[in-house]
């Protein structure tokens, strides 16, 4: 089976006036299907930048990127948006739910917006996902009436809506209390285990990394260690 993510010699340099800042240098990263990988590193190590490049939100200065067998670093903006919608799932530190919509509508949104409307099948899948993340009794709640942990679980369900091949999580437990953080981590592990979904979780929390099947350590823009099996 081919790799879900195959990033080769990724480099990223930011220009700020005359000043050039090299954030990533020759980063190679391959994720096989079903991996639950933690992307670790100190602040400023470049892990968020790498996650954004893999998530097609940022174009690398150098290197090549393949996701699920497709070369994606050469795609146009519109093609990247479509690829993100169909193949990638995102979970952010802050849930970024749409406050004017219910939990079900938030989950179904990534499928409903490109389709021009929310079909019964989309609604049904959204409700299944909400039930799976333990929010069967909150499906029709407006997003504003959910707790922080519940919102993050809705965000996980939303990330799964379009059955992505790669789910990218940026400090997914960073804004949660300990109990909620544990629940969210358990949920991601469960999805990884049951769906064989591939995760790349950006974190600076060793406890989170310890529950992943693999650790990728970034230091000064380079991959320092990319091997560990839990």
């Amino acid at each position: 089976m081919s790799a879900v993510l195959d990033a080769r010699a990724i480099g990223m340099t930011f220009r700020n006036g005359d000043e050039m800042t090299e954030v990533l240098r020759d980063v190679d990263l391959v994720l096989e299907p079903g991996e639950l990988a933690a992307l670790l590193g100190a602040s400023g190590s470049g892990k968020s930048t790498l996650l954004s490049i893999v998530g097609l939100l940022l174009r690398p200065t150098t290197g090549s990127l393949e996701i699920a067998g497709s070369r994606v670093d050469t795609l146009s903006d519109a093609e990247r948006a479509l690829f993100r919608n169909q193949r990638l799932g995102f979970i952010f530190q802050f849930h970024h739910l749409l406050p004017d919509f219910t939990a079900t509508e938030n989950v179904a949104f990534p499928a409903a917006a490109p389709a021009g409307g929310m079909s019964a099948a989309m609604r049904s899948r959204a409700r299944e996902l909400l039930a799976r993340v333990g929010l069967a009794d909150r499906m029709d709640f407006p997003a504003t009436r959910l707790s922080g942990g519940q919102k993050q679980r809705v965000a996980i369900a939303r990330a799964l809506m379009n059955k992505p091949q790669l789910i990218l999580a940026d400090e997914p437990t960073g804004s949660l209390d300990r109990v909620a953080a544990e629940q969210v981590l358990d949920l991601m592990r469960e999805v990884n285990h049951e769906d064989k979904a591939t995760f790349l979780i950006c974190t600076h929390d060793e406890k989170v990394a310890a529950r992943c099947t693999r650790r990728v350590m970034l230091k000064d823009g380079r991959v320092e260690q990319a091997l560990q099996e839990n």
Partner: protein, 401 residues
């Protein structure tokens, strides 16, 4: 359409703010409707006042010009000269009237003999403009019968009707004999059958009515008439109809607008001023919509960012904001048209002590279709700037904020 659902949710997420925005648009539209109805009302009022007692089209003989007559190839040229003694007249007026009666937009026709004369009362002499008509057509152009203040409107074979101011100036009253001296130097003793008061100074002070039969010998016109006056169903069409009649009859046709060029200029200037005010009303509405949607786009940066992150197209984001503009425009324009109509209708009921309208406003002429279309279109255009800015938002930047 899912973008419409999102736009609707965004608008209703803060009902008070949306209500304020729609009210602002409605207020601008109301101002537009009020100004339009007032300007149109003023124009209609002025036109009605001007045309109520005068013809919409006058048909007169074509102007005669001196010309060289064709003749034998000799060195002597023949020249036709224009007689200043012979009164220009329409000899074929019967067939012209028959033609006019077949025209659908013609309301009334009055063949006339018009001329100048003096009314002599003892040692007092006053100039008058004589209008000689068929007695049956007395009210065709001006409502004379209804405005008789003494005597009656029955002209008979030796009767004359005079205006109230003329009667006051000369000390005339109904039933009295009066001497009429025409510009042809013919005198005739006539009887004042009635005195009228139309409240139009030019008529009440200067005009005397005779029957055509009485006027023929006085103006030496045994057959023809000097002019044919016409009233139309739609006074505004006078120029077009006059142009047609001039072609069809060979007579000189003059529309009322061409006789009152200064009024038309005044109305045009008034309309121009009105358009300026209307434009400012619309511009203020559009600026309001653009700024409100820009604020909304800014407030929702993170939501837009996350939508973009999970692959929602920039066209969808733009559509959400353009549809918000459309909804605001439609709601504000509808509300503004209704409130504008209500305001104008109420103002139209305000009456002065003399029975005239306090404001000559025409509630039905508020330009509703135009303002609805302009506001809706303008609202969509005003939302394009915030829509573009939202659609171009860098998802990463928005999420990191």
């Amino acid at each position: 359409m899912f973008a419409l659902t999102v736009a609707h949710r965004y608008l209703f997420s803060n009902p008070a703010q949306t209500a304020l925005l729609v009210s602002g648009v409605a207020l601008g539209v109301t101002a537009f409707v009020f100004i339009t109805a007032l300007i149109q009302g003023l124009a209609i009022n002025l036109t009605e006042q001007l045309t109520a007692n005068s013809a919409h089209i006058s048909l007169e003989p074509a102007t005669r010009v001196a010309r060289v007559l064709p003749g034998a190839a000799t060195e002597t040229a023949s020249v036709a000269i224009v007689s200043t003694f012979q009164r220009p007249q329409i000899r074929t007026w019967g067939s012209t009237v028959a033609l006019l009666r077949t025209q659908s937009g013609v309301l009334a026709i009055s063949p006339q003999i018009s001329g100048s004369a003096f009314i002599v009362k003892g040692e007092t002499v006053a100039p008058v403009a004589v209008t000689a008509i068929e007695p049956a057509d007395l009210d065709a152009i001006s409502a004379i019968s209804a405005n008789i203040v003494s005597g009656d409107a029955n002209l008979g074979s030796d009767g004359i009707l005079v205006g109230a101011r003329l009667a006051e100036n000369l000390g005339l009253s109904a039933g009295e004999p009066v001497l009429l001296r025409t510009d042809r130097g013919i005198d005739r003793l006539l009887t004042i059958r009635g005195v009228f008061r139309t409240r139009v100074q030019a008529l009440d002070e200067r005009v005397a009515y005779l029957s055509i039969q009485t006027a023929r010998p006085l103006f030496r016109l045994p057959e023809g008439v000097t002019n044919i006056e016409i009233k139309l169903v739609e006074p505004a069409e006078a120029r077009d109809v006059a142009s047609f009649l001039q072609q069809a009859t060979g007579l000189r046709a003059t529309a009322w607008q061409d006789k009152n060029a200064s009024l038309e200029e005044a109305l045009t200037a008034q309309a121009r001023t009105g358009r300026l005010i209307q434009a400012f009303s619309l511009i203020s509405v559009l600026i309001g919509i653009a700024s409100a949607l820009s604020l909304s786009a800014n407030r929702r940066r993170s939501e837009i960012g996350i939508m973009r992150a999970f692959g929602v197209s920039s066209a969808f984001i733009a559509a959400v904001f353009i549809l918000q503009g459309l909804l605001i425009g439609v709601a504000g324009a509808s509300l503004g048209c209704l409130s504008g109509f209500a305001l104008c209708s109420w103002l139209a009921t305000l009456i002065r002590p003399d029975g005239t309208m306090a404001l000559p406003i025409a509630p039905g002429e508020g330009g509703y279709v135009a303002v609805f279309a302009l506001t809706t279109l303008g609202a969509v255009l005003a939302s394009v700037i915030p829509a573009r800015s939202a659609a171009r938002l860098d998802p990463l930047e928005a999420i990191q904020q």
